[in-house]
Symmetry: C2
Subunit: 230 residues, 2 copies
DNA sequence: GAAAATATTAACCAACTGGTTAAATTTTAG
DNA sequence: CTAAAATTTAACCAGTTGGTTAATATTTTC
């Protein structure tokens, strides 16, 4: 299926990766995990090839099975690592101290920082979740304590709305908006670059400034105009 | 790799699909396209199997090659259909009449309507775009006349900001926010349902109300408080 | 320094894969 | 009603795939 040009590029990539892996002096296991991440992110769990992973790691294919029982085991490990990195601090943010706006700021800051470093995470996670939803609803997501923290955050939002601190709207819509504006620009980069008529550098510059932009936007949408100027 | 339970479910699905296809009296070609969409959406172009597509379509595998030269040809067709359905009217919205808010309203309305009917579209398109970006930057995206319409819309946004009609912010951030809030809730459904503590019906009910919610949020973020009450 | 443990590899396997082909069947056209 | 065209299928193919194994090499331990 691969053209000759693509094959050359692939081989060059494999060689460069092998050289860079050698230079970094990683163990074989670490090289495998790095290569597996790239392969699973790019092609999904069913499209990724064990030989492809071995080639990118610069090792013999049998070593994959020596360290990780099988392809599914390797995938589980890679996915669980990604998932627990992506999900993580939301719960402590929800149940910690601070106003609604402060919590939103903390979430946006934390997540933008993570996604700038690992822009492939959300698409990878969400794509595998749609591919095999039952894997998550019977496993890793059930281990995720979603209900309590968000429900208390929900209450807090409702109270601040009732107190007139922030504008009245469906709290679930609010959170949906916050997550959308934080995460989607990383998922939608190829399309957004085209729409916004920017190149990759310009786009990434936009992303590094997103924190202030998102927070200002949310504040302007939520905060009521003050009747008493300080 | 499939467990027996999954195999039974798959076979039942194939049978039900075959029965429903028969009931709908579609041509073989249409059955193939429907099955191919489902397979490519779920597993990606490299993970989807020709035999899987044939099984779901209820036809012999050789027929795939009779109608569509090969797997890549079938995928191209499916992807291009999806892409031209997802991208489409943005350009006429950008270059048409109306204020910035009116254009935003038109975009949100049009796209929500499309995505409620076809919620798998954005994840599929963006996933394939990240998997093989060169396919798009040398092909279909170059055919997409992105530059002129958005640049004129950019100018319009800037003018309305300068005129004090809407609040000052980076127009690219504005559009990024609009697209994010419209598209991400469809991509992020499995995760958002968990965070928001809603079931599928409740989540879809949220989605059907998103138009007003998004537009109100944007208006509150953008529109300046009036100094003269009518 | 030798034994034990760990790592690594080439070669191999059965099953799966995308694609092909000739024959049979069905549909269409005249 | 028959020939032509279109559709459909079973059987097949070479290459790819995930996984295994025995042998070899390297590292670690005592």
């Amino acid at each position: 299926m691969l053209s000759n040009e693509k094959r050359i590029i692939l081989l060059l990539t494999i060689w460069l990766n092998a050289m860079s892996n050698k230079e970094l002096d990683l163990s074989s296991k670490e090289k495998i995990l790095n290569a597996a991440r790239r392969a699973f992110i790019r092609n999904g769990s069913s499209g990724a090839r064990m030989q492809e992973i071995a080639d990118e790691a610069g090792i013999n294919k049998a070593l994959l099975h020596y360290y990780f029982k099988n392809k599914e085991g390797l995938f589980e490990l890679v996915f669980n690592d990604a998932f627990s990195e992506f999900i993580p601090k939301i719960h402590s943010i929800f149940s910690g101290d601070g106003s609604v706006m402060e919590k939103i700021e903390r979430y946006v800051e934390t997540h933008l920082e993570l996604l700038i470093r690992k822009p492939d995470l959300p698409l990878f996670i969400l794509n595998e979740m749609q591919r095999e939803p039952e894997r998550f609803f019977s496993g890793i997501l059930n281990k995720m304590p979603g209900a309590p923290p968000f429900e208390s955050f929900l209450k807090q939002i409702e109270e601040e709305m009732k107190d007139g601190k922030i504008r009245n709207m469906n709290p679930r819509d609010l959170w949906m908006n916050v997550m959308s504006m934080t995460v989607f620009p990383f998922i939608g980069e190829p399309m957004l670059k085209k729409f916004l008529v920017v190149n990759t550098e310009e786009y990434h510059s936009l992303l590094t400034k997103r924190k202030d932009s998102i927070l200002t936007f949310i504040q302007q949408a939520l905060l009521l105009p003050k009747t008493n100027n300080p």
